[in-house]
């Protein structure tokens, strides 16, 4: 097979996977997962969530090795369970991910407002969303070297700051780093920890660009290791340097940590990391979501106006603007309610759900397409996919189980469950009734179309 002129190598696969998961709201969630555990022991939940994500990444690797395409998740599910299931799961997954943007922009705005109080939080939110929409409209994507520099820069900044805070002479002792606490508290922390890795699997479309397919599973593995290190170190740093009650009440705990460790310099450094984290994850997220919407419209599964392309830049401007509107509405909702934690629970749940679906797809395709070439096969027969399916199903449930020790989170958990239920029902209804209607409307035009191919 011929090689592409510009092929992607391992460092970029790792940077892309890590960069997609490393968002500002994830830095906030890094505190949330440790609230039900003693002292700074939450790092163990971060690590455990990362370790089981390795098993999930193997499932993704097997599927993308069978179908190396950017159509990814939807295609895997379609091959395993049919188009309707694929449309429901993929739309729900992409839709919920887009909703999390409201929370992401809220937290970023809170960070920037804290660093530069002269500018109101609302201006930061809309400035950021508008900038990202324009960047996407212009067709600029942060890829290759830019992605490498951004991701490795963030990793070095957060890791370096945590190392300085914890290892410098006279550093305060780490509070109870190895005390697990209650089993329930740990299990729920692991469930929430899944949120920290949300998006690492969005690297699979790079299968269309890599020099060697094996770079995808290898890259995801390295990415999970890097993320576990960054989140773990940051978690210990935050829990050591800032009182837990103060962290729990704040939307910007990582900035408080930066300030506590290095004063104004640390504050600005963490604000810069936040901005970079939001830009890289949001840029890629909007790019993927707008192309998904465009592709759905091209396939007559979404309104036709979403296929409109910019006359100069060949970007799907209608899909980008539709998402911009949705993200802005979510940002307003979070800005007025301050309910950003709801989306951490929601994100953790949707990630658990998609991992279960991917594992079930692996199992199903092993039976229905046993002879199809698999560039990568999950080791251990069907054991690992079964473990992933069962484990993440349990974690999915745990996300919503109220912890009596943290009544303050019950509202966010309930809100997440209700939001997930409402969005899921809306998506099912859409796929059940609207998509067939859109396709029926398209059918006469397609049916009357005269073939151009001679003799066809």
């Amino acid at each position: 097979m011929t090689q592409l002129r510009k092929a992607v190598g391992l460092p970029t696969v790792i940077a892309t996977s890590s960069g997609l998961a490393l968002a500002t709201v994830s830095l906030t969630a890094d505190v949330q997962i440790g609230l039900g555990m003693p002292g700074a022991a939450g790092w163990m939940a971060v690590l455990a969530a990362g370790l089981i994500s390795v098993l999930a990444s193997w499932c993704f690797a097997e599927l993308v090795g069978m179908f190396p395409t950017a159509a990814g998740i939807k295609l895997f599910i379609e091959k395993a369970f049919g188009e309707k299931a694929a449309l429901i799961c993929a739309t729900l997954y992409v839709g919920i991910t887009v909703l999390i943007v409201g929370s992401e922009s809220y937290v970023l705005a809170a960070v920037l407002h804290y660093a530069f109080p002269a500018v109101h939080q609302a201006w930061w939110v809309f400035g950021f969303l508008t900038l990202m929409a324009l960047v996407n409209l212009r067709g600029i994507s942060i890829t290759g070297i830019a992605q490498d520099v951004a991701t490795y820069g963030m990793v070095l900044a957060v890791g370096g700051l945590a190392a300085w805070a914890l290892l410098r002479p006279g550093a305060p002792p780490i509070p109870t780093p190895f005390e697990l606490g209650s089993g329930f508290g740990f299990a729920q922390a692991v469930a929430l920890g899944v949120f920290l890795y949300l998006g690492f699997e969005w690297v699979t479309p790079l299968a269309e660009e890599v020099t060697d397919f094996r770079l995808i599973p290898k890259g995801m593995l390295w990415s999970l290791a890097i993320l576990a290190f960054v989140y773990g170190a940051l978690h210990i740093g935050m829990m050591t340097m800032v009182p837990k009650e103060q962290l729990a009440a704040s939307a910007i705990p990582h900035v408080l940590f930066g300030e506590a460790a290095l004063g104004r310099f640390g504050l600005v450094a963490m604000a810069a990391v936040s901005a970079l984290a939001s830009i890289t994850s949001f840029n890629a997220g909007l790019l993927t979501a707008s192309r998904f919407l465009y592709a759905m419209a091209r396939d007559w599964a979404a309104p036709r106006f979403l296929t409109r392309l910019h006359p100069d830049w060949a970007t799907p401007w209608a899909a980008i603007l539709a998402l911009y509107g949705l993200c802005s509405a979510m940002a307003v909702a979070v800005l007025t309610s301050g309910a950003f934690k709801l989306f951490i629970f929601l994100g953790a749940a949707i990630e658990c759900m998609i991992f279960v679906v991917m594992a079930l797809s692996v199992l199903r395709l092993r039976r229905t397409m046993p002879d199809l070439v698999r560039e990568f096969r999950v080791p251990g027969g069907t054991l690992v996919p079964w473990v992933v399916a069962v484990l993440y199903s349990l974690l999915f449930v745990l996300v919503f189980v109220p912890d009596p020790a943290h009544p303050a989170d019950h509202g966010a958990q309930l809100g997440a469950l209700v939001t997930l239920g409402v969005v899921a029902l809306a998506v099912v209804a859409y796929v059940q009734w609207v998509v067939p209607w859109l396709r029926k409307k398209a059918a006469p035009a397609g049916g009357q179309k005269r073939r151009r191919r001679p003799g066809g």
Partner: protein, 118 residues
């Protein structure tokens, strides 16, 4: 199964359609790429060169280092170049495989979208 000659005829029509479309030429004015197409059932290869949105040449065989590689059955390639097939649908079902950056995949689909909108 489409023959190599049939695909070359389809490519000739495709070149004419693309190059005479002012809207497409405007949209692709900064797009210069070398594309390879492979018929998965015949293992026939084809090369197309796009310079600033204009298809300047096409030929049988895989010539030069490509920016984009498209794998599809010979029938799908032929139908795609004649505009009788929506490549997006085939791509989403994994029946057409593209090796390229997401931007180039988008551009490729945009071409078909513009010259055969339905």
């Amino acid at each position: 199964m489409a023959t190599s000659q049939e695909i070359l005829e389809a490519l000739a029509d495709y070149q004419e359609q693309c190059n005479s479309n002012a809207r497409l030429r405007r949209m692709q004015k900064d797009w210069t790429k070398r594309l390879h197409f492979r018929g998965t059932d015949t293992d026939d290869w084809f090369t197309m060169v796009v310079v600033e949105g204009e298809i300047t040449e096409f030929s049988a065989g895989a010539e030069g280092v490509p920016d984009i590689v498209v794998h599809a059955t010979s029938e799908d390639l032929c139908d795609m170049f004649w505009g009788d097939l929506n490549p997006s649908q085939k791509y989403l079902r994994g029946e057409i495989l593209v090796k390229a950056s997401p931007e180039d995949v988008m551009r490729l689909d945009a071409i078909t979208m513009i010259i055969w909108p339905s």
